[in-house]
Chain length 144, copies 2
DNA sequence: AGGATAGGTTTCCATTGGAAACTAGCTTCC
DNA sequence: GGAAGCTAGTTTCCAATGGAAACCTATCCT
């Protein structure tokens, strides 16, 4: 079990040894920015963060809204986003217990960017579909 | 081999049957927007698209700039982004052959959003690191 | 007691990701 | 003339991840 919070495939020098004089650089392999980029540049994380923009949402509500997400992946993604300080988890001792997820102030600074990604897909879907069709037609039948 | 361009795990009604009266909705499971979101909300795709903002870049140049990406994943990601019409691939018959990747106009409409994601990680890295440390301290030693 | 609801965890298997080796055309070095 | 090196990939192999479905714990309702 790897509950200690550090991925076991990272070469030991993950977050600490990279705090060098230069500003953080996503293009560097071992830089912590990479871990964060890997977290937020993720289909499910994007949808979750976007969904939380209008206020706190409960676990099962998220699960129903974000169609197709599995409970496992939802809970995993929420846990990671919480650990990164992007969202907060509030347990209410109702019955049955209620758990609300909400954006933190830090999370709020990200949601515009994330929402832009999510909704770009909606706005430009037809263009992408057309491009795919064109590409497939070319790849399927054209010699040179 | 699944070179026909359609993922074999998709339930047949992938891109075509979803063009309904309602606008595309990323929250719907079988909607093509999901495929696109899956493509662009991806660590490597984000880095590639961001890297192409300043103009065309060659394959090996991308590989060296985006530290840690493997050739396989780079070529796969480039191929998918090309199919989606986000970038173009230009082969120059130099010697050795040169291949340049560049953003298409459609790709350009995405890069601001994508760059915002990539650089949010750089700007907010310290806050994320602090949040992780706090979370781990709590999870490691606090009873309830 | 049996079923529903809330919020997960566990199990299992297919898909994906990454490291490294290999391909292939052409050039320069020795 | 053959080895090495550049280009841009593909292939192979294995570990890690993702998703579907089952299971779990707790409390209320009937």
């Amino acid at each position: 079990m790897v509950t200690s919070g550090k991925p076991q495939n990272a070469p030991e020098r993950d977050a600490e040894s990279c705090r060098l004089p230069w500003p953080f650089d996503v293009y560097e392999a071992q830089c912590p920015t990479r871990m964060v980029l890997d977290r937020i540049a993720d289909k499910w994380a994007v949808l979750i963060l976007d969904r939380l923009r209008d206020g706190p949402v409960r676990f099962n509500h998220l699960r129903r809204d974000i169609k197709g997400i599995s409970q496992k992946v939802l809970s995993q993604t929420l846990k990671k986003l919480e650990r990164d300080g992007l969202l907060s988890r509030a347990v209410f001792p109702t019955v049955p217990v209620t758990v609300e997820y909400a954006l933190t102030p830090l999370g709020r600074t990200l949601t515009d960017a994330v929402a832009a990604i999510a909704h770009w897909a909606e706005r430009n879907m037809e263009a992408v579909l057309a491009a795919q069709a064109a590409y497939d037609a070319r790849a399927g039948g054209e010699p040179g």
